[in-house]
């Protein structure tokens, strides 16, 4: 029976010859990602480790299913609340006692970036993670999806998860992206075109000759925002670029997989990359996307470049390209948070951080940063390279967030209003 790439990965993880959309299966996780926040007492007074130890005890076990398949990351550096500090202490206890892999400090940054940069994601793997943006890893040809706190405990205890195999839609990409058009613009354009109804609880697969024109950084952005379309996962078959990236990251051997030619999709959409302009998603939904020109002149108080969506080296290079020899408009804040210290150090080596700082941007250490804590006053507008612009996401509900690529954020911070970055190139 023909299968999609996602179905092949699920079938392998579920020890089945084949699966098809709608099947209920039990899959064995190849990896589990957990952010430090899950270890805090934010969601449960006992904390994740406390809840886990209770479950393990009742099952007659002392340990998780396989510590070496678990990656824990400290997403917030430094921790800003005592609760978070305590959570990070518990995360360290967990990693030590359960022999899990832990990243923090100068090895760290945002967990999803750490996962791909340190070789923890291989094409063909079945990965779940205690954060909704776990779907990012589909960019390397893995099946990856986010899970909640309780389900994370379940996977820790059993190594297994039940799931309903999602129906799939495919985007056949052709052509080459134009100037200042990257993964963010492609995914916002797609979200604007198909809307939530087209993607909810489905698999999104990006395929076709256009894929080879898209950098790994941009692919990570495209798959990262699958959850913003309410999809279960997004996936891009591994190619030479993927193999080179995984090799560089220190990942192991893998067998390339791809969808069968006659695999079933509920929709196939043709996308000509050359027709996509830089996109901006207006408040309050990521799918509220339109060409940047439609928002020209909207006054901006803050620009933010960072997050697991767009804080990678490609984004920092684009921002520096715009900001070189220019200045952030007085009165506008531009905050730049490289998503990982790997990106931070590379940007430093390339001289990008100095360009950004000379232009008046504030460069911070690597973490989730302003994506997860309030920074706007009522009535203020932020243009963000992040993923979510729901009401109240970055401040009171009277503040608003527009989403774009990093070049558009930089150009808008220079002009003090939403600006087409192509005007500055």
């Amino acid at each position: 029976m023909p299968m999609t790439l996602s179905e092949k990965i699920i079938a392998r993880a579920a020890n089945r010859k084949t699966v098809s959309a709608g099947d209920i299966v039990v899959a064995n996780a190849d990896k589990l990602y957990i952010k430090d926040l899950r270890f805090s007492k934010k969601e449960d007074a006992k904390g994740l480790y406390g809840v886990l130890l209770e479950v393990l005890e009742s099952m007659g076990k002392q340990n998780v299913w396989d510590g070496q398949k678990i990656v824990v990351n400290l997403d917030e550096q430094p921790p800003r609340t005592d609760r978070r500090s305590e959570g990070q202490d518990r995360a360290r206890d967990f990693a030590r006692e359960q022999r899990a892999i832990l990243y923090g400090g100068e090895d760290g940054g945002i967990g999803h970036n750490v996962m791909v940069e340190h070789g923890h994601v291989l094409p063909g793997e079945f990965i779940v993670g205690g954060d909704s943006h776990t779907c990012t890893y589909g960019a390397l040809g893995a099946f990856a999806t986010g899970i909640g706190f309780t389900e994370t405990v379940g996977v820790l205890a059993t190594g297994q998860i039940w799931l309903k195999v999602p129906t799939a839609i495919r985007f056949d990409l052709t052509g080459t992206p134009g100037p200042c058009v990257v993964g963010k613009d492609i995914v916002l354009w797609v979200a604007g075109k198909i809307g939530y109804e087209g993607a909810i609880n489905r698999t999104l697969e990006y395929a076709g000759p256009g894929v080879k024109e898209i950098s790994i950084e941009s692919r990570l952005t495209m798959c990262n925002m699958a959850v913003e379309m309410i999809a279960v996962n997004a996936i891009i078959p591994a190619d030479e670029r993927t193999a080179a990236f995984v090799r560089e990251a220190g990942g192991g051997e893998f067998t390339p997989l791809s969808s069968d030619a006659d695999a079933r999709y509920v929709h196939i959409h043709a996308v000509n990359l050359g027709e996509i302009e830089p996109q901006v998603a207006a408040p309050e939904y990521p799918a509220n996307a339109h060409p940047v020109g439609e928002f020209r002149g909207v006054k901006v108080h803050q620009g933010f470049i960072g997050t697991c969506t767009n804080g990678r080296i490609e984004d920092l290079r684009m921002a520096a390209g715009i900001l070189h020899g220019r200045n952030v408009k007085p009165g506008v804040r531009l905050i730049i948070t490289p998503a990982s210290f790997m990106a931070y150090r590379l940007a430093e080596k390339e001289g990008l951080l100095k360009i950004l700082q000379d232009a008046g941007a504030t460069v911070t250490s690597s973490e989730c940063g302003l994506c997860v804590r309030p920074s706007l006053a009522a009535g203020e507008v932020c243009v963000s390279s992040g993923n979510r612009n729901y009401r109240g996401r970055m401040g009171p509900k009277e503040s608003s967030v527009f989403l774009s690529n990093a070049a558009t954020v930089a150009a808008s911070a220079v002009a003090g209003e939403i600006t087409d970055p192509r005007d500055f190139v």
Binding site: I24, V55, M59, S132, I147, T150, A157, W162, I230
Partner: protein, 153 residues
């Protein structure tokens, strides 16, 4: 009535409510709702309920407020799974938003996948939950399910 049948007064919400705005008992949509909702009430939502973050304090706030069940036009995969895993029955049911008015009393059969509107007698068919979800719900959530010897087989 099965153990997975709930009956109660409904509160109706709209489309596209993300996890962040659900947090604090629908606090981002209606800050006063937490003072009006009563234990046993049922929450009705439109399309794309629970989109966005996987953080569990949002669904837990609904459970802690005593909401006995959720029915929505559509629910994000992560949010629906989390509701089931914390033992709060939830179901997708196309047409529910137009079939009920705020304050109506309904009966939801999460096992059979149906909603009965008591005022009109109208019966709507929802999406039946997978067997695993039913088993987890019948134990009160994933943690009690695993603690009582439940497995994924």
């Amino acid at each position: 009535m099965s153990a997975l049948t709930v009956r109660g007064r409904i509160w109706k919400f709209g489309d596209s409510i993300d996890c962040g705005n659900i947090d604090g008992v629908m606090g981002g949509v209606d800050a006063d709702f937490k003072n009006r909702v009563k234990p046993g009430d049922i929450l009705i939502a439109g399309r794309f309920f629970g989109m966005g973050a996987s953080d569990e304090h949002a669904p837990r706030s609904l459970k802690e407020a005593g909401i006995s069940g959720i029915v929505a036009e559509s629910i994000s995969n992560i949010f629906l799974r989390t509701l089931i895993n914390i033992g709060l029955p939830a179901m997708e049911c196309a047409g529910i938003a137009n079939a009920v008015n705020d304050g109506d009393e309904i009966e939801v059969d999460y096992l059979g996948g149906s909603v009965r509107v008591l005022r009109s007698g109208r019966l709507l068919a929802g999406d039946r939950l997978p067997d695993f979800a039913v088993q987890i719900l019948s134990k009160g959530g994933l943690m009690p399910y695993l603690k009582s010897g439940g497995q994924f087989k």
